[in-house]
Symmetry: C2
Subunit: 138 residues, 2 copies
DNA sequence: GTTGTTGCAAAGAATTTGCAACATA
DNA sequence: TATGTTGCAAATTCTTTGCAACAAC
């Protein structure tokens, strides 16, 4: 038996590799849009995966804390999307919720510069672009 | 009687200039941090202003729609802050919730460039910096 | 075997809606 | 006066918590 990569990644983050967590992580990895806890729970249930809503909430939260997921606020609810580890920004389609990751050194530079000018101690920043992706605007 | 500027501004936006709306608008104009509907309601009540929580919610929402306020998401709840009309970004202090508006042509340029590259039809963007302001990090 | 995790039911919190009384234009 | 607005109470919706059964290590 070879090393189980997803399970290993979870353990490295101090999380036990339970069936539910692997399911959620896999589901998120398989999609390129963002999804809410409620919606994901419904999808998994409909796909025959036995998992509780509470667990979906806790799992998404834990995975986001561990850096596996990015979070978005969508009119009052939290949506999550799988992300690569390093810092990046987003191109968000408002029609299909697809999210493209983009890196932007220009923005990083801009952040440092502005912050320095105002004596601001930066803890984080976000620079996201919203609109319609090529498919949806076609 | 001279023209009442705040009342006039409301009417221009298609909103009746009620005591409650003027109160909310004034309260927001007087502060440089962002505040939630719940908190603002409590403050106004404590200041002796008779206003219902429902009205605070509806008023903040209407004022934001009309472009008088910017909205922020603060861990599950919406916060509002008075803003100037033209497009800008924010420097947000996580300790005192103070918000400084900043303009950034660099960011505007970056947005256009990225969007064009990917065939994205931009409807909006945000570029906010979070951290501790000079006062709070001192 | 320990300890972290799950999931149900219940609680909690923010926000919205129905509707009759009321204020603005 | 006609229509938009208010505010209470009730309803909704998202999210969290208590706790006993259970699974991972």
């Amino acid at each position: 038996m070879v090393t189980d990569a997803p399970a290993h990644a979870l353990r490295e983050a101090g999380l036990r590799a339970t069936r539910q967590r692997l399911t959620v992580l896999e589901a998120l990895r398989a999609r390129e849009d963002s999804i809410t806890a409620q919606d994901l729970h419904m999808e998994l249930r409909q796909a025959g995966e036995p998992i509780g809503l509470t667990t979906v909430y806790r799992t998404l939260s834990a995975l986001a804390d561990a850096g596996f997921l990015d979070t978005f606020e969508r009119e009052g609810e939290l949506a999550f999307r799988h992300c690569s580890v390093d810092h990046h920004h987003h191109l968000v389609c408002e029609a299909c919720n697809k999210v493209e990751e983009i890196t932007a050194e220009e923005v990083e530079r801009w952040v440092q510069e502005i912050a320095q000018t105002r004596g601001f101690a930066v803890t984080g920043h976000r620079a996201d672009i919203f609109g319609l992706c090529a498919d949806c605007s076609a």
